[in-house]
Amino acid sequence: MSDVAHTQDSYLGPPYGLGAWLLTKDHKRIAILYLISITIFFAVGAMFAAGIRLELLTPKGDLWTSDTYNKLFTLHGVVMIFFFLVPSIPAVLGNFLLPIMIGAKDLAFPRINLLSWYIYIAGAIITLTAVFTGGLDTGWTFYVPYSTLSSHTAVTTAAVGVFITGFSSILTGLNFIVTVHRMRAPGMTWFRLPLFVWAMYATSLQMILGTPVIAITVLLVAAERFLHLGFFDPSLGGDPVLFQHLFWFYSHPAVYIMVLPGMGVISELVAAVSRKQVFGYSFVAFSSLAIALIGFLVWGHHLFVSSQSIYAGLVFSILTMLVAIPSAVKTFNWTATMYKGAVTWDSSVYWVIGFLGLFTIGGLTGLFLAAMGMDIHLSDSYFVIAHFHYIMVGGSLMAYLGGLHFWWPKMTGRMFNDTLAKASAVLVFIGFNLTFFPQFVLGYMGMPRRYHAYPDEFQVLNVLSTAGAGVLAVGYLLPAFYLTYSLFKGAKAPANPWGAKGLEWTVPSPPPTFNFESDPVVNEPAYNYNPGREVHVG
């Protein structure tokens, strides 16, 4: 990347060299380090997904043995969740943008920021070691007693890897929280913060409160396997359901850790493409906090069929449905922002609309699963698979790609081919629906998850799904080519190519090492596109 032309003191400028990058404390360079690493892990996770879809092309389990298939879906989940989705938007876009958006020179703790990347890499290497020393076949959920007593795969190694990676997430969250509290520029009040920052703040709260619990939980699993301590072993009187409680106490909020940043990205994009202030700014801001809060109280909906008491189930069911309120607030407000907005048909709009469509379907099917009676039928079926892919892939990944495109000129100083970007967004949207919509039907018809063979009558829908995965793959590969191409041949990006509001668009592309040439002072609300009609909040 060093041959990108840049202004004298651009963060991409000197010092060059691997050492200068690997020991950098600049949040922007660390974001690039994360970008490269998570892209690699996305490719790895996608390979595992390809293995799954190819097996499911035919009803017979003829491509892989059932053991190999178990490892494929486990590793797909572990890699995509812990090494791609959780760090994706926060560690790449958040790292790069959050300090600039609030007018700071860096995150509060630059060295801890670098440390978090090294911890991430260490955890990733240990987890990948597990892949080559027996694999992992427990599912990404590590359910006991299978994971502690029965599995002959490298559960301990993988658990230690996930444990270590968790601290990377914790440190990122900690850094963001302190940065938002203590590093805002003069005049940057809480209610002038871009909504992306609010979303990052809410995500960070979940990271610091949830991640330690999964860390100790997988540590207990590792200790149970490795040191023969018994925590969840029924033969000692231990309770495997306790594991599920502890696991989902993190892992359900983790869903919001994955989707809240995406919502933040979409808020920015919606305002920029509509040239309007986000409708109901404070509602959108507080709905992020509401999702973060309620998100901690719903983990029990993963235990509807795990011997949980029916009364606990009822409470969890109601609380789960409550999440729909702040989610709907956001969706309606985004739509209302676009309504009568001066919508510019850049590629950004395509990602936004794709996100809105897929996230809405994902959210509404979540209500099906929150209803206890329905859930007993749909539990552990492909309906669940389709639902969470609509949220995590349709929602988060679409938003991540949208955000990556939107801020790409800022990050690299180069413009990409907008037509190809639109093509990519459309391909992803079509491919995604083709892949996962049939899975709703399959799940409803009773096809269970995690089997490598299935009855013949499910084949047509599975073929459609695999074909869709092919389209999706093309949609994901396209950006890899034209974005890389833009680094070398792309037109130089102006400071504000989209005519958007926000401090990040006031600095050169790519930004200088210390972000701002002079200390910024903020004297207007966020998204002040129509100063005559500004809405004051807070």
């Binding site: 929280i177 610091i208 619990v213 939980t217 207990l220 925590f231 000692l236 306790l242 210390f514």
Partner: protein
């Protein structure tokens, strides 16, 4: 905290330049507030981390009160009480070390930090002998656990939690002592004064937190047997 060697000093208007001020902060007070908040947030994550184990403890204690009484009776209350005292003393010396830094007393910092390290090490030595005793009495969970005990499986569960809780706590003590050695080295070099004492202060917060965890562990593990036996669970 490493001093910055950046040419950019625009943020330091109105403040005498302090070499300990990192380039991305406007002032020393902003830097202190950020670091302190950072440590508090970290301690929140630590509470959640221990919280997972305390949750397991609560669930099993309610389910198996008899086994918990039996298991608790195997623990050495005398040594536990001794360690509690040792840690409370270490918290006092830690607080005095922070105070010494705030009043720019280098000697006070060095003496109090050394005392803190000595108390911390004493705790670990006592803990080592406690573990050794459990090992000799076949109370370490796993294949060597004494299965002739009443409610052996459930007692094994108690000892699993005992070793996990105290083990993770001891690991935090070791990290804390490492941290204190770093702070001590910096104190000997005269890095801290009333102008700049952030590292001493936030390391102190960590140290007190680790002590407080023990203040919870001691009654929950050691004194519980006597309590439950006296009040019938």
């Amino acid at each position: 905290m490493a001093s910055s060697s950046t040419p950019l000093e625009t943020g330091a208007q109105g403040h005498a330049h302090n070499p300990n001020l990192q380039h991305h902060f406007y002032s020393m007070s902003q830097q202190l507030e950020a670091s302190t908040l950072g440590m508090w947030v970290f301690l929140v994550t630590e509470i959640m981390f221990f919280g997972g184990m305390f949750m397991a403890y609560i669930v099993y204690r309610i389910t198996y009160p008899e086994a918990w009484v039996l298991g608790s009776h195997h623990l050495n209350v005398g040594l536990g009480a001794l360690n509690t005292g040792v840690l409370i003393c270490s918290s006092l010396t830690m607080a005095l070390a922070v105070r010494s830094a705030q009043v720019s007393s280098r000697k006070g910092q060095i003496v109090n930090l050394i005392l803190t390290i000595v108390f911390g090490a004493t705790f670990l030595v006592v803990k080592f002998f406690e573990y050794k005793e459990k090992f000799e009495h076949h109370l370490v969970p796993g294949p060597h656990f004494d299965m002739t005990l009443p409610d052996a499986g459930q007692q094994q569960l108690f000892f699993s939690l005992y070793f996990m809780l105290t083990g993770v706590h001891a690991a935090h003590m070791i990290v804390g002592i490492g941290l204190m050695l770093v702070i001590l080295t910096m104190a000997i070099r005269g890095r801290f004064s009333s102008e700049y004492y952030t590292p001493v202060e936030i390391s102190g917060l960590y140290w007190h937190f680790v002590d407080i965890v023990w203040i919870f562990l001691f009654p929950l593990l050691y004194l519980l047997g006597a309590h439950l036996a006296a009040h019938g669970g």
